[in-house]
């Protein structure tokens, strides 16, 4: 289907059409000094005229000189919190005369329509699809939520200070995995979106709202904006041979140096759109009649996470950071077939002490080049999570 065009004024009808189909709209909005994802009612709820300025350990909102609805990059939230909720009850059990009755948690399909999913975020969802839906053991909760979701992607027309999707090959242009993909254009007298259709569902929805085919000029303008974003990346990461370099760097002195700064607070893993680890917690009530199993987001930075008989296998901060970075950028490739990093920069922004994954990986690469550490005979980090 050729590229279509949607005027800003038609966005309200677009939202209404989604609601009519039973979707709950989730999208960007201003809350407590940040652009977060939450339930969205109308286009005016979008962060019109705001943009985020991000640096290591720093995020600030600034007023733009236009009324762009998607003029920011990514905030503290990711779609992970809707597809893979931070806390979930898995089952409940009630004591009975013969033992206990188990009641599994019903699968929920909240029918989310995600508004404003960026290219890096689509890649992150694609990665979590592999994690939760690939292999022999799949996650029915994730499946229900993912299958029911309608994805309205938005191409980035500018990049942020911690963005490096261009290095990871995950953006800034969305390629696949969406129902509709918008590119926002603010022409002098006109505010419009070019629209790419990515699915049957997307095409059907578009029929219900006023739109027209985009002209070559309009398409070119939108493409130019996305190309500009590609040239604005605040950071970069050289992925060539990175897996081998990291596997050979188990004893690299840089890990000790990072451990002096790393707080082991786990913020990087919480904000990462691909980090998927959880812990389960069994609780009983006071009367001993009921029990339940809860699942929460967990982090490889907590001691309990790697606790096995006899103690934690990653007792030092050094071991935990090394595990996280090596899994993300190296062993993830062996485990899931791609890097675990999509270049969104969240871990850099939301690290309370500004640790930069791109700088750390680069430091290890550069010092390896000098010392020429051999790959053979060094210990390899196991692909685990």
């Amino acid at each position: 289907m050729p590229v279509q065009l949607l005027d800003w004024e038609a966005l309200e009808e677009f939202f209404t059409a989604l609601k009519r189909r039973g979707f709950t709209l989730i999208g960007p909005q201003l809350q407590d000094g940040a652009i977060v994802y939450d339930q969205l009612e109308k286009p005016e709820d979008l962060p019109l005229g705001w943009q985020d300025v991000q640096d290591k350990g720093s995020y600030r909102l600034h007023q733009r000189d236009d009324e762009a609805a998607f003029g920011y990059v990514v905030g503290p939230h990711s779609w992970k919190r809707f597809l893979h909720p931070p806390s979930l009850r898995l089952w409940r059990a009630k004591r009975s005369e013969s033992g206990f009755d188990l009641q599994e948690e019903a699968l929920k399909d909240p029918k989310y329509a995600f508004i404003g999913v960026r290219a890096c975020e689509l890649s992150a969802i694609e990665i979590q699809n592999k994690v939760f839906l690939g292999g022999s053991y799949t996650d029915p909760h994730y499946r229900a939520r993912r299958q029911g979701a309608f994805i309205v992607a938005v191409n980035c027309t500018q990049a942020g200070g911690n963005c490096f999707c261009a290095s990871m090959g995950t953006g800034p242009k969305v390629e696949t995995g969406f129902d509709l993909a918008l590119t926002e254009v603010l022409a002098p007298s006109r505010h419009y979106f070019t629209v790419e259709v990515g699915s049957e569902q997307g095409a059907e929805l578009l029929k219900e709202i006023p739109h027209q085919e985009a002209s070559q000029q309009e398409i070119a303008t939108a493409q130019q904006l996305v190309a500009t974003a590609a040239g604005q990346m605040g950071r970069e990461l050289d992925n060539s041979g990175l897996k081998e370099i990291l596997y050979a760097s188990y004893d690299h002195p840089r890990w000790d140096e990072i451990a002096e700064r790393c707080l082991s607070c786990g913020n990087c893993t919480m904000v990462c759109p691909t980090c998927f680890c959880t812990t389960v917690e069994d609780v009983t009530d006071l009367s001993g009649q009921e029990a339940e199993r809860l699942r929460h987001w967990d982090s490889c930075f907590s001691i309990d996470f790697s606790y096995i008989h006899g103690g934690s296998v990653r007792a030092s901060g050094k071991a935990r950071y090394r595990q996280w970075l090596t899994h993300k950028l190296a062993s993830w490739i062996d485990q899931f077939g791609s890097s675990g990093c999509v270049g969104c920069g969240r871990c850099i922004t939301w690290c309370p002490v500004g640790i930069d994954i791109t700088a750390e990986a680069t430091a290890i690469r550069n010092s390896q080049a000098v010392t020429g550490v051999k790959t053979k005979g060094t210990r390899h980090v196991q692909a685990d999570h």
Binding site: G57, R81, R261, C265, G266, M270, S302, P352
Partner: protein, 262 residues
């Protein structure tokens, strides 16, 4: 569950404000269930009626600050099968441990008209410095939910779910935007143990460290960031670290480093 007899619960107070014991009375909806499962044998905040020991579970609030209390905690330990300390006073010495950094006799001479009647120890210390403690429940005050969790875990012989990871994990799970990163507000969350549900950041305040140091607190790195990026002075750091958990090892050491630099 049917038991031969209900376990006997005792609640003890040492140097403290009573706030943590009151968390037990605060369990309004669950209080009947608690009373249904345990015999509340000694809880002066709730009832003058005291059942003699020994006790199956003792909840101990407060720190040890007098020679008299140092002896009394030994008696409590002897009378208790399981002893759980509750709150920052009992687990870290409390706000009154601020005196540990000074000469308490100087305060006594200035504050009291008749200092000779005051029989105070030089330091306010946690219960675990005096007797074996089976479990420490952090917080100033403790969280009601965590208290219920500890009671349930005790009743059914399991480990309580009270993670020692950072407040940040709770903050991120509830979807709160980081006040330090987004607003430049000094926050102790990354070095503080979870348990409060990330209450203060949810109300746009930095964490005050009520639950004490988390399992692997890197206070040196956090303090350096506060100083270089948030313009915090040594005095700011000293004040932030010296509150309810001032005498907890990692907070104490870090505050002493900034005290020396002042």
């Amino acid at each position: 569950m049917t038991r031969a007899r209900k376990p006997k619960l005792a609640v003890w107070k040492f140097a403290s404000c009573d706030g943590c014991q009151l968390s037990l009375l605060d369990c309004e909806d669950e209080l009947l269930a608690i009373a249904g499962e345990v015999e509340i044998a000694n809880f002066l905040e709730a009832s003058r009626a005291v059942v003699k020991g020994p006790y199956d579970l003792s909840l101990v609030e407060g720190s040890i600050t007098t020679p008299h209390d140092a002896k009394r905690i030994q008696q409590v330990r002897r009378a208790s099968k399981t002893l759980v300390t509750i709150g920052a006073c009992a687990t870290a010495g409390g706000i009154q441990a601020l005196r540990n950094f000074k000469d308490v006799q100087e305060f006594v001479s200035v504050v009291y008209a008749q200092p000779k009647y005051i029989d105070s120890l030089a330091k306010s210390t946690p219960i675990a410095d005096h007797v074996f403690v089976d479990f420490e429940l952090r917080g100033c005050p403790i969280s009601k939910q965590q208290l219920l969790e500890v009671l349930s875990a005790f009743l059914y012989g399991r480990k309580p779910n009270t993670p020692a990871s950072s407040v940040c994990l709770e903050c991120k799970r509830r979807g709160t935007t980081c006040v330090m990163v987004a607003q430049g507000t000094a926050c102790l969350g990354p070095v503080t143990q979870a348990g409060c549900g990330a209450l203060c950041p949810a109300y746009n305040r930095g964490c005050y460290g009520c639950f004490g140091p988390m399992e692997t607190p890197n206070t040196v790195s956090l303090a350096a960031w506060w100083q270089t990026e948030l313009d915090a002075s040594d005095l700011d750091l000293l004040r932030a670290l010296r509150t309810f958990n001032a005498y907890a090892g990692p907070f104490r050491k870090e505050s002493e480093a900034h005290d020396r630099k002042q």
